[in-house]
């Protein structure tokens, strides 16, 4: 009977019409949303005397945004698509923000105050080339100077007012690369400088009114040029020659080209290869050589002289005109825990306008970029504010020696996420502290009661809302018994770890993996992935949990790896080690040692695997399971999947006893002319499955084929690997496979003719759901495949099961060749999808929901019941009672089931789910440019009372009942007495 209770409950729940929407006043109770912009590439200040002071930034996440200079808040923000990288941003006419994106083929104007798009012009582009944006500094408002945009081999002059293309000029000639487009102020001549075959400098003079070439000059430079170029004034540029040892000044005054060569060895002794840095300084250039940055002044006749040299770690701003025709620039460098910011005059480097030292968090790393802006102080002197971008991508505004505001923009580029528990509550801290006194508690509940009885006034409603928001320590730093408070550990592209609290999304701690204090062989490891290293429970409770960050000392795949272990409670690095071999794959094993450290295998490029942690205990555990550990590799380019088994310790080659050699066991080769691997997927290793049986309506049993060693592979025909619609339906086919990764056996193959990727899939329990495009129907489709075990289907005798005479819980091996069958069904789906995830709960009893990240950067929760292959057109009464929905050709998109409600997770890249301790509830964390978190209960919270539950009403009812019992008892006593006297 008890067995049935849970099932009964589910039947109850599924028969109810479940709606997942929330009321307006519930927004923000469980969910939080954080908006970011990413690492800033360009910044343009807009600080007029009147009006709000703001800075326009464009970022590496393809965001253009306007920030308040006072507080760092966002006025507006636009996230362009992933393929729409911003090349240049500027302000035109004092009211439009101009962005050039998509390699110079898209020019847009946004209204400065509110960010509305004013116009958009698609520019003609023929080839890929660098793109340049030149917005004239408009001194006279009445005169409309055109915006010059170069990209894709064409130079366009675009009117700033309406975005109309005034003229365009073709520079697509063979071997010609445009390097600079210069427009001297107050001049109608535009200079276009380019290199022909990297050896001939060509200068075109173009009339800015008509776009006609007025003059063309060219001159061959025998040494040849390398790409880097720095324009020092309106008629001079400096380039490096192809050997990177000679600086060449190219003057094109009045159309005459002249070269002036200066070997770098004349400037600096023992110079190596030089590199021209990007800042735009007038009459000066910055060259990086010998790990120092030298400043070279360009004299009137092209003569070069070194004026200053700074350390390699210095970041510099572009030059900024300050009063009296003077030009200043800022430089910032790191020293110890301080940042030194200096603003100097370009003409006279000894004049330091500003020298500030600012205490800076170690975990922000070095300064990457500086942008400065000046303002007039009350004493009529120049004040400077500097916007700096740090190594961890954070953005800070420095003014008057202090950090005015900072933004953690590293969180816009999260690459990997894992979860961690908070510390257990100590005896000293109790909940009573939060609930103050009984009177307050009662007051609060009386208010809630008023609210639920619709008696509350507007002020009361506001008070209730406020009370809910800060209710019962949702942001406390200790574990709660429902498991609602947790940490999400996020690794960002900058190599910084952030611990985010689920309650309010604040950063509990952050840690830069390559903080500048470390001076090891590997100076700047790039973080790759994040693993749960130690999750203590049961017998190792006094240990702190920790995460493993796997990094690499370079971008090359054969570069040596770095392991870093980080304590989750404190955010401190416990240890880090250079492991001396490359990291190609990391495989967490399902074994832990006595301190709950998980065993990990790391494969290197030579086909060896290395065991971590390097302890004898781990080694003995691993040796026990030596024959049962396998690994596989997917070679996407060749279309091969290989399976490997453990062979022996590689003691013969190295003395390392934690290193093992492997042998190849099987290969699956896909025919390269017809199939190309586009997606592979396995189940999440920590997913909990409650039961192995699936009960159908007529009490029939199906045994789920639940295996962690299943690999879902999707292939398309090579022609169809491109954009949707680039092939005809006849040419394209999508084939999906389910492959056992132990034996290499293909368990199932399903082919979709006339279909195309990209494939987004989710694999959970015994089912896979995947999303692709159907070329014939011109629609997206979703297919579900459920896998069942046929070989155990014979276990149907009740008495044998009652007496336990079955082998259903005996360990199974992939070599036993289980017979299996699949059920599948396809549906149309109206939306394009970015990512799919599935909810996960602590025991796996609660029904599941698919979380679909749509193209609109929202997350749609879709019940698994909608993608159930048992759906039929006319389900029987019993099937309906079981919750089977009549089959429809397309999956419904119910607006209320968007869990992001009115918000957007801009640039959505991934969704992570983690179970709470309460079985009904799951944490959902979505990341992209924005972060979003919420708690979901796919079958509603059947195991707890909601926050709205009126305890006061319950209390009052109980008191009233007790009072009523007492009164009636007294009355009955009296009556009895009077009866007796009668």
């Amino acid at each position: 009977m008890a067995i049935r209770v849970s099932l009964l409950l589910l039947v109850f729940l599924s028969s109810a019409v479940v709606s997942f929407s929330l009321y307006e006043d519930q927004v923000g109770l469980m969910d939080w949303h954080q908006r970011y912009i990413g690492k800033v590439k360009h910044a343009v200040f807009h600080t007029q005397k009147t009006g709000r002071k703001r800075v326009i930034v464009s970022t590496e996440e393809n965001v253009v945004a306007s920030l308040d200079l006072r507080h760092g808040e966002m006025f507006w923000r636009h996230v362009l698509g992933t393929n729409d990288a911003i090349d240049g941003v500027d302000i035109a006419l004092g009211k439009y923000v101009i962005t050039l994106s998509s390699q110079g083929s898209m020019l847009r104007a946004w209204n400065l105050p509110d960010g509305q798009m004013v116009w958009e012009t698609s520019l003609h582009s023929a080839q890929s080339s660098k793109s340049l944006l030149s917005v004239p500094i408009n001194l006279k408002v009445d005169k409309d100077y055109p915006i010059l945009a170069f990209g894709g081999g064409y130079l366009h002059a675009v009117s700033a007012v309406d975005g109309e293309v005034l003229w365009k000029k073709d520079f697509t000639a063979e071997g010609f690369e445009v390097q600079r487009v210069l427009q001297p102020p107050e001049s109608s001549i535009i200079y276009v400088l380019g290199f022909l075959h990297s050896s001939e400098a060509v200068v075109y003079q173009i009339d800015s009114k008509t776009g006609e070439v007025v003059a063309q000059k060219s001159m061959v430079f025998p040494g040849g040029f390398s790409g880097a170029i720095s324009s020092v004034s309106s008629d001079k540029v400096v380039v490096l020659d192809s050997t990177r040892s000679i600086l060449v000044t190219i003057g094109f005054l009045d159309g005459d080209i002249n070269f002036q060569k200066t070997p770098i060895s004349d400037l600096v002794k023992n110079s190596g290869n030089a590199e021209i840095l990007s800042p735009l300084l007038s009459n000066m250039l910055a060259v990086k050589v010998n790990k120092r940055t030298i400043f070279v002044r360009v004299g009137g006749e092209g003569k070069l002289e070194v004026v200053d040299s700074l350390s390699d770690e210095t970041a510099m701003s572009d030059s900024l005109p300050v009063a009296d025709d003077q030009v200043a620039f800022a430089s910032a460098h790191h020293e110890g825990s301080k940042i030194h910011l200096m603003v100097k005059l370009v003409d006279d480097l000894d004049t330091v306008l500003l020298r500030e030292s600012i205490e800076m968090d170690q975990h922000r790393g070095r300064v990457h970029k500086v942008f400065i802006n000046n303002y007039i102080k009350t004493d009529r002197s120049n004040g400077f504010r500097a916007l700096i971008v740090m190594e961890d991508h954070s953005l800070l505004l420095l003014q008057q020696g202090a950090i005015v505001w900072s933004r953690e923009e590293g969180l816009a580029s999260v690459t990997d996420v894992t979860t961690a528990e908070l510390p257990v509550e100590k005896d000293g801290v109790s909940v009573a502290k939060v609930e103050h006194t009984l009177v307050d508690w009662l007051k609060g509940h009386m208010l809630k009661l008023k609210g639920s009885l619709l008696l509350a006034s507007l002020e009361d409603v506001a008070a209730i809302q406020e009370m809910r928001m800060k209710s019962s320590g949702r942001s406390k730093l200790t574990r709660d018994h429902n498991g609602f408070r947790k940490l999400f550990i996020a690794l960002t592209r900058a190599g910084k770890l952030f611990a985010l609290h689920t309650g309010d999304g604040r950063i509990v701690w952050s840690m830069l993996l390559n903080s500048p204090t470390k001076s090891e062989a590997c100076e700047r490891p790039s973080g790759i992935n994040l693993y749960q290293w130690q999750v203590p429970h049961h017998h190792a409770m006094d240990e702190n949990p920790s995460v493993l960050v796997v990094g690499r000392c370079g971008s090359d795949s054969s570069a040596p790896g770095v392991l870093s272990f980080v304590d989750v409670y404190t955010g401190k690095e416990i240890s880090s080690s250079d492991i001396g071999h490359s990291v190609v794959r990391v495989m967490p094993l399902p074994f832990t040692d006595s301190t709950e450290q998980r065993l990990h295998l790391i494969a290197d490029t030579e086909g060896h695997v290395h065991l971590y942690p390097k302890t004898s205990e781990a080694l003995s555990i691993f040796q026990r399971e030596f024959q049962n550990v396998y690994w596989y590799t997917v070679e996407g380019d060749d279309g091969i999947i290989r399976g490997h088994g453990m062979k022996s310790s590689c003691a013969g080659e190295t003395a390392d006893e934690y290193c093992f050699t492997t042998k190849e066991l099987w290969t699956v080769v896909f025919p390269s002319e017809s199939e190309k691997i586009i997606s592979t997927l396995t189940r999440k290793p920590n997913e909990v499955v409650h039961t192995q049986a699936k009960v159908s309506t007529d009490q029939d049993l199906l045994y789920k084929y639940v295996s962690r060693n299943l690999l879902f592979v999707a292939t398309v025909s090579p022609k169809g690997a491109g954009e949707i619609g680039s092939v005809t339906p006849e040419e394209s086919a999508l084939v999906v496979y389910l492959i056992d990764t132990i034996t290499g056996r293909i368990l199932h193959r399903l082919s979709h003719q006339g279909c195309q990727g990209p494939v987004h899939a989710v694999f959970s329990e015994n089912w896979v759901v995947y999303h692709y495009f159907n070329l014939r129907a011109h629609k997206y489709e979703v297919t579900v495949v459920e896998i069942y075990d046929q070989s155990r289907a014979e276990n149907k005798n009740v008495w044998k099961l009652v007496l336990g005479k079955h082998n259903l819980t005996a360990p199974i091996s992939s070599y036993s060749r289980p017979e299996m069958f699949t059920k599948s069904q396809s549906y149309f789906f109206a939306q394009s999808v970015k990512t799919i995830a599935v909810t996960s709960t602590a025991k796996g009893i609660t029904s599941k929901q698919l979380l679909i990240g749509t193209i609109g950067d929202q997350i749609l929760a879709l019940d698994k019941r909608f993608v159930d292959p048992r759906r039929t057109l006319n389900p029987s009464q019993a099937e309906k009672e079981e919750g089977i929905i009549p089959l429809t050709d397309s999956l419904p998109i119910i607006p209320q089931s968007y869990i992001t409600h009115s918000l957007k997770v801009e640039g959505l890249r991934g969704i992570v789910t983690a179970p709470a301790k309460l079985e009904s509830t799951t944490h959902v964390f979505a990341y992209g440019v924005d972060l979003f978190y919420t708690r979901l209960a796919p079958s509603k919270t059947y195991d707890s009372l909601t926050d709205d539950f009126s305890y006061a009403l319950l209390l009052i009812t109980i008191v009233a009942l007790v009072a009523a019992i007492y009164i009636t008892w007294v009355i009955s006593e009296k009556k009895e007495l009077s009866e007796k006297w009668r």
Partner: protein, 180 residues
């Protein structure tokens, strides 16, 4: 309240009992008054009393049979109610089914009590009791059958397998695409 009790209980000093239930004169200290006979009236006219007794026994038997058959009515009504309730699990059907189970059970427990009033050495109560038992067992069976049709009895393989966790796997595998 306590005061009142004290008045009624502890405040009583003496009492006279006027009732007299004893039938044996020797047990009494005071002799019966002359002319008073303690012999009961039944013994006087035994013929009419026997007739009366027979009638009463008959009546008792009849009543016992009626009581024995009463569960049948119940059974019919229960059956009707169950048919009305349908085969789905909801509050109504569960309530009906549990009352259908509980009624026969409680009746079976109190078989002795039910037939207490008809107890007589002249009345043969075995048959009515058996019928009563049988009918109630029938009711119980009906309840259990209903429970089963509702799917609340673990009579299917699925009921025993659902709680079994998926089997452990012997082999472990990991890997995938190489890191970029």
């Amino acid at each position: 309240m306590d005061k009142r009790k004290a008045v009624m209980g502890a405040g009583r000093r003496w009492a006279v009992d006027f009732s007299d239930q004893s039938t044996v004169p020797s047990s009494r200290d005071i002799l019966d008054p002359p002319g008073f006979s303690r012999v009961s009236p039944e013994q006087d006219d035994s013929a009419t009393s026997r007739q009366k007794k027979d009638a009463e026994a008959n009546w008792k038997l009849q009543k016992a049979w009626e009581v024995a058959q009463s569960p049948f009515k119940n059974l019919m009504m229960m059956g009707f109610m169950m048919w009305m309730a349908g085969n789905t699990v909801h509050l109504f059907s569960i309530g009906i089914t549990f009352s259908a189970l509980w009624q026969p059970l409680s009746a079976l427990q109190s078989v002795g009590k039910v037939f207490e009033p008809f107890k007589d050495n002249k009345v043969e109560l075995l048959m009515p009791k058996l019928v009563f038992l049988a009918l109630n067992l029938g009711g119980l069976a009906l309840g259990i059958w209903k429970l089963n049709t509702l799917g609340l009895l673990p009579t299917h393989a699925s009921d025993w397998v659902s709680s079994l966790p998926p089997p452990q796997e012997v082999e472990h595998s990991g890997g995938g695409f190489a890191f970029h």
